[in-house]
């Protein structure tokens, strides 16, 4: 339990988390100007997110200091997560039998089908969401 051997410096973890978050946002912003491809950008983000999750899991949630029993409880979720995602990919993500791309939508008479990017336009909603303007963005 709350023995002394398992204390950690929460402030340091907090700072690290904050820095990583800032790096994440920065990374997402600079990839275009710097010409970093979309996949390196995403992999970088995933890496950073997992790092952050790891910090929370291990320190804030104290898992680092728990015995094998609690660790063991969480272990099965890892393969199961992968199974759920990977088993769905061939049928949903990379399915060459799909007629209209995932996310696409038809106009109400069915005459026209557009991809996700343009759906809001087709349905008469501003593509650049105004929320970002009003909430202080851009």
């Amino acid at each position: 339990m709350s023995g002394d051997h398992n204390t950690f410096n929460a402030t340091r973890v907090l700072i690290l988390l904050a820095v990583l978050t800032a790096v994440e946002v920065g990374w997402a912003l600079v990839h275009e100007p710097l010409g970093i491809g979309i996949w390196p950008m995403r992999l970088g983000l995933i890496f950073l997110a997992i790092w952050k999750g790891y910090l929370i899991f291990m320190f804030f949630m104290h898992m680092k200091f728990e015995g094998w029993i609690l660790k063991g409880l969480m272990v099965p979720t890892l393969p199961l997560m992968c199974i759920v995602v990977f088993a769905n990919m061939p049928d949903t993500s990379f399915n060459d039998k799909i007629v209209y791309p995932i996310g696409s939508m038809a106009s109400s008479d069915g005459a026209e089908v557009v991809e996700l990017e343009d759906v809001s336009e087709m349905r008469g909603v501003l593509p650049h969401n105004a929320a970002s303007h009003e909430a202080g963005g851009h």
Binding site: D91, K97, I98, P101, I102, M105, G110, V113
Partner: protein
């Protein structure tokens, strides 16, 4: 928190710590029987609710059978009950609701509550020597979460358009687009909410069971001394913990597709009744296969949740009444674990014909076929237990042997379906119906009957009537086979399931007499249960009074009084040996109790 839990000091985890405390406050009726936190009362509550729902599910099955034998004709008795407005024949719309609700009620409100709810609650603390569950209040909450679940599910019938009618598998877009299906107008929403409540209830139970088994075993009760029932319930609870939330997530997505008109499972540009489904402003662009994967990711493990506890009960009952140790205790434990583990990677076998990627079909086939292996180990070990035994043919034993016999049939037909090319022929035919009724009715229900006959004296301090019990068993066994064995024949002839009128096709006309035979057998099967109902209630009040250990069994629950009082054990015990010490030479008796009294 009850006074039991309050004495547990956090951090005290030395094995074998015992906290002795007294508490005697009088409880009023409501505290004692309605909002009880006592695991025994909750177990019995689950049992009664499960049995009542069993009658409901059974009546729905009778309506199904009426329609299949005499489609479109006026149904006697039940017809008046189910739809007095028309009082006439079952319409195709209503038929689809009938089997949907039949499957749902039977699985989510009969078998799972009876096995994990009733036996899980009643037996876990008693069999491991604990005074109660780890979290009695959570336990009570678990029961009371199931009640709105089943009420909501039943309210499905009152919805506009009728009860949910997309099958218990609720495949979208049939289940999500109101225009496509009468039962998807309102009924499906109730169905989803009912399912979610029952899911939350199961989760609460599962957390409780695992914690209790991990943390509250009596001194000396090592893992490898736990009765197989406990192992089975533990593994089933773990299956629920890891599989059920995925269904909950999927149900929420389906609910959102229905209520918020999101597009998770609705593909682009569907035309229903000449109208584009997006015309009304719903989103689309989703993928129905996604639901199928997520649904079966839970619902295949769910079938093992429905059979593992049954296997556990049967193992214990067979050992007691065969007066012989379980053959291969450890292989039994390992094989149950293997079934559970493999159970997570075989769900795709329900989707061989769905358009799933064929390479994945291959993988799922191999995993599915391999699951026969641990099942084979279990069957042979039950046979090994019977070999050289001194069998007492009591009612619980008859039902347990019936379980083994029926499970074999159901399991073996599973092999056909696991084989992808063969499944292409038999998918969605009556062979599938035969298969799963053999495993759930022949398997789980017989084990439930066995369990009720076996533990009834512990629950109520009275024995059930043996003669009535045997009459009940013989009739149930015979009629079960008449009903479900013949379904193999229907299926081989190609008859499809979920059909309101099989004779819409010329090729199936000659199956009508067979269907009528099945239906009559099913009515007899249902009627025959009167022997059980009478026996149950009669024995509850007027059965033969028995002592602590009427079956001369070894496991811990039989050291407690019948019925056990608050806190279960009235003296301090220590577990000295494994659960199946029958016929041991160490003692004169043919059984050697697992635990001994240690407080003098």
């Amino acid at each position: 928190m009850s006074s039991t839990a309050t004495t547990i000091q956090p951090g005290e985890g030395a094995p074998g710590t015992v906290h002795v405390h007294h508490d005697h406050h009088e409880l009023n009726f409501v505290q004692k029987y309605v909002f009880s936190v006592d695991h025994k009362v909750i177990g019995i509550q689950f049992m009664l609710v499960g049995l009542v729902m069993f009658v409901v599910g059974g009546l729905l099955a009778m309506a199904i059978r009426w329609q299949l034998a005499w489609p479109g004709t006026e149904m006697p008795v039940l017809g008046q009950l189910l739809y007095p407005e028309t009082g006439k024949a079952i319409s195709p719309e209503f038929y689809t609701s009938l089997f949907t609700m039949h499957g749902t009620v039977m699985i989510f409100f009969v078998i799972i509550p009876l096995l994990t709810g009733a036996f899980g609650n009643y037996l876990i603390p008693l069999m491991i020597g604990a005074p109660d569950m780890a979290f009695p209040k959570l336990n009570m909450l678990g029961f009371w979460f199931m009640i709105p679940g089943l009420i909501l599910a039943c309210m499905s019938f009152t919805a506009e358009g009728g009860a949910a009618s997309s099958g218990w598998t609720a495949y979208p877009p049939l289940s999500t687009l109101a225009q496509s299906n009468p039962g998807s107008r309102g009924g499906q929403t109730f169905w989803l909410m009912g399912l979610t409540f029952s899911g939350v209830s199961s989760m609460m139970g599962a957390v409780n069971y695992v914690t209790t088994i991990a943390k509250m075993r009596a001194p000396g009760m090592t893992l490898m001394r736990m009765p197989l029932t406990i192992w089975a319930l533990l593994i089933a609870a773990i299956l629920q913990l890891f599989a059920l939330p995925v269904l909950t997530a999927a149900s929420f997505m389906q609910l959102s597709d229905r209520v918020l008109h999101t597009g998770f499972f609705t593909p682009t540009n569907l035309v229903i009744n000449q109208v584009n489904s997006e015309a009304a402003g719903a989103a689309a662009g989703g993928q129905p296969l996604l639901w199928q994967h997520l649904f079966w990711f839970y619902s295949h493990p769910a079938v093992y949740i429905m059979v593992l506890p049954a296997m556990g009960l049967a193992s214990d009952i067979i050992a007691v009444h065969a007066r012989k140790p379980i053959f291969g205790y450890k292989p039994m434990v390992y094989s149950m674990s293997a079934i559970a583990g493999l159970g997570f990677i075989v769900w795709g076998h329900h989707m061989f014909a769905s358009g799933m990627n064929p390479a994945m079909g291959m993988t799922f086939m191999v995993a599915t076929i391999m699951i026969a292996l641990p099942s084979a180990v279990k069957v042979f070990n039950w046979l090994g237990t019977l070999w050289g035994a001194r069998i007492q043919l009591t009612t619980p034993m008859l039902n347990a042997v019936g379980f083994v016999s029926m499970f074999i049939i159901g399991g073996l037909s599973g092999i056909w379906m696991a084989a992808t090319p063969v499944d292409i022929y038999i998918h969605d035919t009556y062979i599938v119906v035969a298969h799963f009724h053999y495993v759930v009715f022949g398997g789980s229900v017989f084990a439930i009957f066995a369990g009720i006959y076996h533990w009834f004296p512990k629950m109520f301090g009275r024995l059930m009537n043996e003669t009535l019990g045997k009459i009940h068993f013989v009739g149930t066994f015979v009629f079960t086979n008449c009903v479900f064995y013949m379904m193999h024949q229907l299926g081989l002839a190609g008859l499809m399931r979920r059909t309101a009128d099989p004779y819409a096709y010329e090729v199936f006309h000659h199956l009508k007499p067979l269907n009528q035979f099945i239906s009559i057998s099913a009515f007899c099967l249902f009627a025959w249960q009167i022997f059980f109902v009478v026996n149950f209630f009669h024995s509850m009040f007027w059965g033969k009074r028995v002592g602590r250990n009427p079956w001369r069994a070894t496991t811990l629950e039989w050291t407690a009084p019948s019925p056990p009082g608050h806190g279960n054990f009235d003296y301090q015990i220590e577990v000295k040996r494994g659960p199946y010490e029958y016929a041991s030479a160490e003692v004169d008796e043919d059984f050697h109790m697992q635990a001994e009294r240690v407080d003098g």
